[in-house]
């Protein structure tokens, strides 16, 4: 395997060299503890402040509304459990959707075990929630609406602004898991009435193990991690200064190049979305045709199974991902593909290709070429295949 075409950027990304360089400085030179008063620690503290400013800037938040965490999952858990614990006297009802990330769904299930009621909104065939359903689900006891900004599997972008307006009108907190959207598409927490927002550095060419939760001023959460006075006493643990500085660097670059990057990725994405159905029969696009992340391509190929597809593509140096149960050791295919109403056997044959702006048109063409072969090869092997056998 000579060639490497990385198309799994929704799972995780390569860390940019500039980001690595930034981090290395803080690993070996400016490694002081920001809580220490000597100059060496104060330098780290100052750096943290500037990182917070950068991260706040890209979503139009205030610097002191940004709390760094150890992952997107931690931010999601914290937002949901933190609101639930602090505001349970107001009510114990939460609204979310069926196609959230497991960090949201399993946090909600945890709360259900602890006496909360959760409404899981259905989505349409594109993965879009219905605003009417949302309105109908709101009750006196609803304290939180948590709907993702964009879906990680099918790339569908939810009507966040409208959700924010509904939440505000009803005086309910609105959290959005923006792990897939943050740094990729424009977000304005002010304009969109977002109260809490989760993000993760490793989805934007930053380091793994660093995330953040934006908490609108005035909202109090119970801590998820108790201990030291870091993050204004809200999230304990010696600050991961190198990771946070790397995150900020990645955000800075993402912010500067966003327009360009959206344009570039959209061209590549649309090329995939045009070529695949042209070259392969019975290929179904998953997710919304237009309201989707610029980097997300998701197709189901009838008669074949996703893991084999991935493994054959891997042999051609192409890294993708699938919602097939077989890739996860689960019995059912992904809840997202089920959520948009795919039949099991169709869902099993799904492929997600997720772009970064390091990808090229030539890689798209190479991938399509290989994909045509691989899909054909697997179909020739499949007892379900109804087309011509060779």
């Amino acid at each position: 395997m000579e060639r490497k075409v990385y198309l799994d950027n929704a799972a995780t990304t390569m860390v940019r060299p500039e980001v690595v360089e930034t981090m290395n400085k803080y690993y070996t030179e400016l490694y002081g503890n920001p809580s220490s008063i000597y100059e060496f620690g104060q330098k780290a503290k100052k750096a943290l402040g500037s990182a917070r400013e950068t991260v706040a800037g890209i979503i139009n938040a205030d610097t002191d509304e940004i709390y760094f965490t150890g992952s997107g999952s931690e931010a999601d858990n914290w937002a949901i459990k933190g609101v639930a614990e602090k505001y349970c006297s107001k009510g114990k009802h939460i609204i979310t959707s069926k196609i959230e990330h497991h960090a949201i769904l399993h946090s909600c299930e945890y709360l259900e075990k602890n006496g909360f009621e959760v409404t899981y909104l259905e989505v349409d065939e594109y993965g879009m929630i219905s605003l009417d359903d949302l309105k109908a689900a709101i009750k006196e006891e609803t304290i939180l609406i948590t709907i993702m900004f964009a879906n990680n599997e099918i790339g569908t972008i939810e009507p966040v602004r409208e959700i924010g307006a509904i939440a505000k009108e009803n005086n309910i907190f609105f959290h959005t898991d923006a792990v897939q959207a943050f740094g990729h598409i424009p977000i304005d927490v002010e304009e969109m009435n977002i109260d809490l927002l989760s993000a993760s550095a490793h989805k934007i060419n930053g380091p793994k193990g660093v995330g953040m939760l934006y908490i609108k001023k005035g909202i109090r959460l119970e801590n998820l991690i108790h201990g030291g006075a870091q993050e204004r006493k809200m999230r304990a643990g010696t600050e991961n200064v190198p990771g946070i500085m790397g995150f900020a660097k990645a955000v800075e670059i993402a912010g500067k190049t966003m327009d360009e990057s959206i344009e570039k990725m959209t061209v590549l994405r649309d090329r995939f979305m045009k070529l695949i159905p042209e070259r392969i029969d019975n290929a179904k696009l998953n997710g919304h045709p237009v309201k989707r992340l610029p980097g997300n391509v998701n197709f189901s190929f009838e008669f074949i199974e996703g893991e084999s597809l991935l493994l054959y593509l891997d042999m051609d140096g192409i890294s993708g991902s699938s919602g097939s149960a077989c890739t996860s050791g689960a019995l059912d295919p992904s809840h997202v593909l089920m959520g948009i109403g795919l039949a099991h056997e169709i869902a099993h044959g799904s492929l997600r290709l997720s772009l970064s702006d390091f990808n090229t048109e030539e890689e798209v063409d190479y991938t399509v070429e290989k994909l045509v072969n691989v899909v054909d090869r697997l179909r020739q092997m499949s007892p379900l295949y109804t087309g011509r056998r060779k």
């Binding site: 008669f303 074949i304 199974e305 996703g306 893991e307 084999s308 493994l311 042999m315 097939s324 149960a325 077989c326 890739t327 050791g329 019995l331 295919p333 099991h344 056997e345 099993h348 020739q380 092997m381 499949s382 007892p383 379900l384 056998r389």
Partner: protein
């Protein structure tokens, strides 16, 4: 994740295809669960002279099918009926826990094809008495771990 043997049989699966005049055909699994195996047998004088398979499924499902067909090719039906999922796993140098059911499917597919042959020809094959063509491995997955 997979051993070299699994990858070899996945990359270059042996005996892929259909046999037009097969005298034993078995299909197990279902699309809902993500794997279906169909095995075609050509049996002459109780000897499996040819075998082919079609599989819808993951890498280990394809490799298990390929390995199972290799293990029974040229064997007598009395030997073939003894094929266990453990033998398939061993021959593959092991399978991840969550993939063990693939080897069970392969065992079942061979049995189903032999069963079909027995039914069509009126022959009795010792070892197939308990064979249940509707048995669903996915519901019993843990038993094979």
């Amino acid at each position: 994740m997979y051993t070299e043997e699994v990858m070899d049989h996945f990359r270059n699966p042996r005996n892929v295809g259909e046999i037009e005049n097969a005298n034993g055909v078995g299909e197990v699994g279902n699309a809902q669960c993500g794997d279906i195996m169909k095995i075609y047998l050509k049996i002459e004088d109780d000897i499996i002279t040819d075998v082919k398979f079609l599989t819808f499924g993951c890498g280990s499902a394809i490799a298990s099918s390929s390995m199972a067909t290799e293990l029974i090719k040229g064997k007598s039906i009395n030997v073939a009926v003894e094929l266990t999922n453990k033998a398939v796993i061993e021959a593959l140098g092991g399978l991840p826990k969550v993939k063990v059911h693939c080897s069970v499917l392969a065992e079942q597919a061979v049995n189903a094809a032999l069963h079909d042959y027995a039914q069509k020809t009126g022959k009795k094959i010792t070892g197939l008495e308990d064979f249940d063509p509707d048995y669903d491995v996915h519901e019993h997955e843990h038993e094979y771990l």
